[in-house]
Symmetry: C2
Subunit: 102 residues, 2 copies
DNA sequence: TGACAATATGTCAGATCTGACATAATATAA
DNA sequence: TTATATTATGTCAGATCTGACATATTGTCA
């Protein structure tokens, strides 16, 4: 398990349901977090391929550097919607998004 | 273009940005809506495969029938997060979710 | 046809997410 | 090392999403 996944999963920020498993997360919750994390990592990859800093990407997205940092780190306050919109803004297409989450 | 896609795209419900194109949606916004719609359709497919009514699925999700209906119809008030969580609750895995959005 | 089941639509209070800001931590180069 | 650039973290008001409810519409079957 790599550093980012560990960080996101250990995060106390996630509001979890009632079924207790590893660290209080259900299997579905785990899968959801892993999927989000995959998109986070894809975002970092695409940003770097485009040779943009987080601040530059933030400007393009009409967002802020801090939010981009949160996106790339799988922060619980970031939605999959925002990740997908950001990936699309970086030129990712359906296929590469689909590939990222597998 | 099938009925559902047309409905979602024509929907006045979507809050759109500044770049005007077909019906006032940018290319990225279009792609995002299409991706959401693909997940909507996958949800309907999975629900029917499980032989559940919208009300039964709603109960499993701790949600409501009306929200399930909105999910399946690509309503703008439904997030990709909710669609993905619902698909996972229906037993869909990463691969089938990825396949759905291609 | 009528009765019932299933799905769709509209609304809203409460919950969650977002951009923005400040500031801390870490990298990179001189 | 010291600057400077880049990334990370914490917070919060305003925006968006959610579950729930009422109700309308559509489907199904006798």
């Amino acid at each position: 398990m790599d550093k980012k996944k560990k960080k996101a999963i250990e995060s106390k920020g996630y509001r979890v349901g009632s079924v207790d498993e590893f660290l209080g997360l259900s299997a579905d919750e785990m899968e959801y977090i892993e999927l989000k994390l995959s998109l986070s990592q894809a975002l970092t990859k695409h940003r770097k391929k485009s040779k943009l800093t987080q601040a530059q990407l933030a400007k393009r997205l009409k967002s802020s550097q801090s939010r981009v940092a949160k996106m790339e780190n799988g922060d619980p306050s970031v939605s999959v919607d925002l990740l997908i919109k950001s990936l699309l803004a970086l030129g990712a297409d359906k296929n590469s998004i689909a590939k990222a989450i597998i």
